[in-house]
């Protein structure tokens, strides 16, 4: 796969950019099983493997359950491991996702977000990765192709950090980001190689001088201690995400934090939203700002671990906000991001009013007019302090 670059830039789809990042990272092992819309990643990556552009062992297995099982085996043996999947594929990996995080294996997975069945749907929403939010994986969400590419390179460093040692998933929107071509800036192969560094596992099954046991039976005597360590490692990941994002910015000119804010500083009304829909919302913010309305946006990048304190700090001066979820947690009380954000704000002395809106399930379009309608509601709440409808579906 030859990528044509002009002045360091190339027009790539989200899938091509992820495949290219994987080529540059050059993992030792990549087990995979095809699923729309993430298939293109492994398809292009298999060409890199066939062309000898990477030294990766590509293992095409017979299901995603086997793909993640093979990832775990290879990672436990001391290899740097990457894979990609979507929706039902991630769902079929569920059992193994917990094993990967419980064994503290820094596997890096790209999930191209797609709706979960039933009914069957192949288009974008976040029900797949939101369902995996408690699986003990670090989750980074990406608005654009550029960010997906940058996130994947950073994810390797974050996952493999010795204070973390947890698997990480990078999420980008199915079709919207995975199949749309965007002009992005690529990093030199050598610079990526240097940035991710050589992988030296802390513990590995193939290190026969230092034998270890992984995933062994622990009952009432020690299981809870393992989980506490895992929980603490997850909490530490937040600082590592900040460090790695800052270093990435210094080296390559694109710095990343825990979340992105857009015209939020003096905003009275805000929308919190993940991934590509943030771009649409920014257009709405600009339109309203032109009319003198004080609106802004916050787009979480790191969702696991969830940066509770920082998000509360960023939103503390907002009078009202809407959290837009492209997934419903079916709890009867709004979407998953809504619940996390609302919980984060609880510690504030003066709390903004927060409403939940579920949008765009199964790839339904989310347009600027939808964002404007939400802002309309939020501005009313900001002015009156009264919430009429706490939660509802939009884009119906």
């Amino acid at each position: 796969m030859a990528i044509t670059m002009t002045k360091g830039q190339a027009g790539l789809t989200g899938n091509s950019a992820i495949a290219y990042a994987m080529k540059q990272i050059n993992p030792d092992v990549s087990p995979a099983y095809p699923i729309t819309p993430s298939t293109g990643i492994v398809e292009e990556f298999s060409s890199y493997v066939a062309d000898g552009a990477v030294e990766t062992e590509l293992i095409t297995v017979e299901s995603e359950h086997s793909a993640m099982s093979a990832c775990i085996g290879a990672s436990a043996a001391g290899a740097r491991v990457m894979t990609a999947t979507s929706a039902q594929g991630l769902a079929l990996m569920w059992e193994m996702l917990y094993v990967a995080s419980g064994m503290r294996l820094p596997i890096v997975l790209t999930d191209v977000n797609r709706a979960l069945s039933a009914p069957i749907n192949i288009h974008c929403d976040h029900s797949d990765t939101m369902g995996a939010r408690d699986a003990g994986w670090i989750q980074l969400y990406s608005e654009t192709v550029q960010e997906a590419y940058d996130n994947l390179i950073q994810a390797v460093r974050i996952a493999e950090n010795k204070n973390v040692l947890l698997p990480a998933m990078v999420c980008l929107d199915g079709f919207i980001t995975s199949h749309a071509i965007e002009n992005i800036t690529l990093i030199d192969d050598a610079a990526v190689k240097e940035f991710v560094g050589e992988y030296r596992p802390v513990h590995s099954l193939l290190d026969t001088d230092n034998p270890v046991t992984m995933g062994a039976m622990t009952l009432q005597d020690s299981y809870i201690e393992f989980k506490r360590q895992q929980s603490e490692a997850m909490a530490r990941a937040r600082d590592v995400v900040i460090e790695v994002g800052r270093e990435f910015g210094k080296k390559f000119g694109r710095a990343y934090g825990l979340f992105e804010t857009y015209r939020l500083d003096d905003a009275e009304a805000a929308i919190v939203i993940l991934n590509s829909a943030a771009g649409t919302t920014k257009v709405a913010v600009d339109e309203l700002r032109k009319q003198g309305r004080k609106v802004g946006l916050l787009r979480p990048r790191l969702f696991r671990p969830f940066p509770f304190a920082e998000i509360a700090e960023a939103l503390k001066n907002v009078k009202a906000l809407a959290v837009l979820d492209r997934a419903d947690s079916m709890s009867g009380f709004g979407g998953p991001v809504f619940n996390e954000v609302r919980s984060a704000l609880y510690e504030l002395e003066k709390r903004p009013r927060v409403i939940s809106r579920i949008y765009g399930l199964g790839g339904r379009d989310y347009k600027v007019k939808d964002a404007l309608a939400v802002f309309d509601d939020v501005l009313k709440i900001a002015a009156t302090g009264k919430v009429d409808t706490l939660q509802k579906y939009i884009t119906l």
């Binding site: 095809p34 699923i35 729309t36 298939t39 492994v42 298999s46 060409s47 590509l58 017979e62």
Partner: protein, 287 residues
């Protein structure tokens, strides 16, 4: 105008088969590519079902994920479109809950033999009364042409750019070894024969498996330099197979490397649901 009388004499009077009786016309056109054999298999299957005389409300058609698994969407039976690889597991539940239904699983080689391989062997072992139609096109068509467990060695696919090094499954051999009481093979090319084979499979009591060799011109065909869909069908389905009835009469060199068509295995063996029911009745009677 004297010629029509002659033609009438020669022609067999036949009413065209009314496929619409079994289809959901508002769900058409189908998604299959030009040159794909799945539509031929669908029509053969509908004719076979018609000939079986089973009421369409007494049929439940189940599928997983893949090109072939789109079939239940187009047909007017009780239908269930499930998860990748799990059609047989769902079908097992349906059959046990409602043994009076005729359960037909429509699946592909990736769906039935890779991700769903476990369910495939265990349904055969239990000999549950259902018909499993495996459309074997040696490809994961829906996701862009990756190699599957039936892709011939050395073939090019999107995940085997320099040729496949994995030996393929023989679906029929596996079904027989696992215990299926009816095992047959057909092709989309031999349409009439396929129709008869599917009818026999539907009428069989027990697990009946029909491996249907079918071509994917879009991915497998292009990657492996077949000139056209029809040339691909002729090479793989016509020249690549031999009827089991002829095979005995042919010298070994004429059969080598070819897949056998027709009913390959048919035995009478206790059917699972019936045994299950008998056991309940027997135990309920008490001593």
């Amino acid at each position: 105008m004297s010629s029509p009388a002659v033609t009438e004499k020669k022609q067999k009077v036949s009413v065209p088969f009314d496929y619409n009786k079994y289809l959901r016309p508002n769900k058409l056109p189908h998604i299959w590519c030009p040159g794909c054999g799945h539509g031929i298999v669908l029509k053969a299957m509908l004719r076979a079902i018609h000939d079986s005389g089973i009421e369409k409300d007494n049929i439940c058609m189940v599928s997983g994920i893949g090109c072939s698994s789109r079939t239940p969407g187009y047909v007017d039976f009780n239908t269930l479109h499930t998860l990748h690889g799990r059609a047989i597991a769902f079908a097992t539940g349906i059959k046990l809950a409602k043994p009076e239904l005729k359960v037909i699983v429509v699946t592909g080689d990736g769906d039935a033999l890779a991700i769903g391989g476990n369910h495939f062997i265990h349904v055969c072992r239990r000999n549950i009364d259902m018909t499993i139609l495996v459309m074997t096109n040696a490809t994961y068509g829906m996701t862009g042409g990756q190699y599957s467990p039936t892709t011939p060695m050395d073939s090019i696919s999107t995940t085997s750019r320099y040729g496949n090094i994995e030996p393929p499954f023989d679906a029929c051999g596996m079904a027989k070894a696992a215990g299926a009481s009816f095992v047959a093979r057909g092709t989309a090319y031999h349409t009439i024969e396929l129709e008869k084979t599917i009818l026999e499979a539907i009428e069989h009591k027990g697990t009946s498996v029909v491996d249907i060799i079918d071509a994917c011109p879009t991915y497998f065909g292009r990657a492996n330099k077949y000139k056209s869909a029809s040339q691909m069908m002729e090479t793989i389905e016509k020249d690549g197979t031999v009827s089991v009835k002829q095979a005995d009469k042919l010298p070994p060199e004429k059969i080598e490397g070819k897949a056998l068509r027709g009913v390959l295995h048919k035995i009478d063996r206790p059917e699972y649901c019936e045994q299950y029911s008998n056991l309940i009745v027997e135990k309920a009677k008490g001593k």
